[in-house]
Amino acid sequence: MVNPILIIAITLMAAFSIGIFQFLGKKFVKSVFWLTILFDLFAIFSIAYSFITEKIVEPIVVKIGGFAPPIGINLSVDAISSYLGFVIFFIGAGAAYHWMKKGIEDPQPKAYILILLILLGSIGIIFTQDFFNLFVFIEITSIAAYGLVASKLDGKALEASFKYLIVGSISSMLVLLGAVLLYKFYGSLNMADISSKIAVSHYSGAILIMITMFLFGLLIELEMFPMNGWALDVYEGANPAIIAILAGGIVKAFLLVFVRSAIYLKYPYLLKIALIFGLTTYMVSQFFAWKQKNARRLFGYSSVAQLGLLVLAGGFYASGILTSTSKTYMLLAIVFFVLNHSFSKSTLFFLSDLIEETEISGWKGVLRKNKLFKFMFSTSVFSIAGAPPFLGFWAKLFFILAIPQKYFFVVVLVLIGAIAEIVYYFR
Amino acid sequence: MAELLQYFMIFLILLMIFFAIYAIKTKNLLVSVIASGFISLVASIVYLYLQAPDVAMTEAAIGAGITTLIFVIAVRKTKEKEK
């Protein structure tokens, strides 16, 4: 097993050293980039593997600077986060490969730095146990994302990037304020330490508002319904390889952080927020997806809908109303959802780059001609919508199994949405 | 003496708010940029009163200096007037 801090240190070192290597030639930059990605994949796989084989059960805690948790910053890696980290690096490697093959033929050396750092930032978001450190990593991820989204340098991409920047700054402002106020009220920035000091019965109005604002900042990043206009523009305007990283990887990191901080902060209204935002996002985006003519925007809506479902599942998982069996089911459902959505959606976005048609009507002809594309397209769509043999089906099955009787209407709505999704994909 | 300093701080704060409103109201972008630089400069004095010399230095050097400069360059590269 590799020390998790090495993933961050080596990646940073590689990103800094590309500044020198870029003068030696593109080959050097490329080899540094791929060596780093391979090392990261190997490292995080070895961590995840040791969790699978149950060599270790407790989360790995990495103290930074040699100080015990509330004084210094610490990272903690458990089974879920190492699994998610692996997914993110895998998607990132795939997207980088795709970008080099297609997209801009010859990305500048700077693009490699941005990709390395966006992956690093999301890994940091997953691992960190400190609220202010979380803010720093969110900023690393978002600034790299602004640059990458704008990388096409045409009107649409720049516009999408600018909107993303405005919304991203506002949301990170909420996160920063939340972190600092938590420090003022509880005298610490460490998640576990704050959690041990918080008692739900002591929730005063000010603390409630503060925590709601903090979680709201994360919800904006999670592209929930009233605040997701920017996300769809990004899906439409940016380079598909970048969208694959964003939708397949980074957003999942935000989901994990959202659920984790809600658990740590013992937020009492988590289920309500998840129900309101998750369900409305899910239904509204499935509804809007019907009207879309632009293929990428359609995928975007579908992606946002899946996120709504994920937030819903996360809310149920963390709310504490589930029995232990159904909690396991829900966890399985989330894991499958993430896997399913990350891979199928990335495939769809790569396809949308390979097929140079933006309108849906144009896709039919291309898909009819090219058997491989057709196979890929239908597999991923079936999987996303949840048709029986695919991963998405198992995810939805576990999800439904886990939901308690009282919330039966959720199941009905989710099923209606899924049927709608299948129909609009096969228009 | 301490009283006087407090009144001075209140004056500075009102100045900051005035500059902020002025910065978003004026149509000339260059003026607006300079006004927002002034906010940072005044803020750095306030930080000194709040016993934060490190932050005051950073705000004066980065917030008032570098940020204003890159704003001015950007305004020079684009348009100087708001519609």
Binding site: V136, I143, L158, F162, S169, D233 | A20, I24, I39, V55
Partner: protein, 121 residues
């Protein structure tokens, strides 16, 4: 108290500009005013009355004959450290935003949001 209120007012003015202005550079100016407001807010959170700056260059601040410092005589250094980080991050975001605006201007020769309708605002 007046520091809290003024920083909130600055934040809201900045946010107002970012939400309603139709000029791209004005929006970024709004964001940077908002940043200043937040920083002022954080610093005033850490202020302690009748305490000195967290730079221990005088022997009087130590507890008797040791290197341990008397807590009540010094303002809270942690918010200052956080603001140091936040200021630098703010300038990074501003630089990024301005470069996007310059690039947008080179494509369409305009910095008004009204001229950018390709995607819905």
């Amino acid at each position: 108290m007046v520091f809290f209120l003024s920083s909130i007012v600055l934040m809201l003015i900045g946010l107002y500009a970012a939400l309603t202005k139709r000029n791209l550079i004005k929006i970024i100016i709004g964001l940077s005013i908002m940043d200043t407001g937040i920083n002022l807010f954080i610093i005033s959170l850490g202020f302690v009355k009748n305490a000195t700056a967290p730079i221990i260059s005088l022997k009087e601040l130590f507890k008797s004959n040791s290197l341990l410092v008397d807590v009540s005589k010094v303002v809270d250094p942690l918010p200052q450290a956080l603001v140091l980080t936040a200021i630098v991050i703010g300038v990074a975001v501003t630089a990024m935003a301005l470069s996007i605006v310059i690039r947008m201007y080179s494509v369409k020769k305009s910095i008004e949001t009204d001229d950018y309708k390709e995607l819905k605002w």
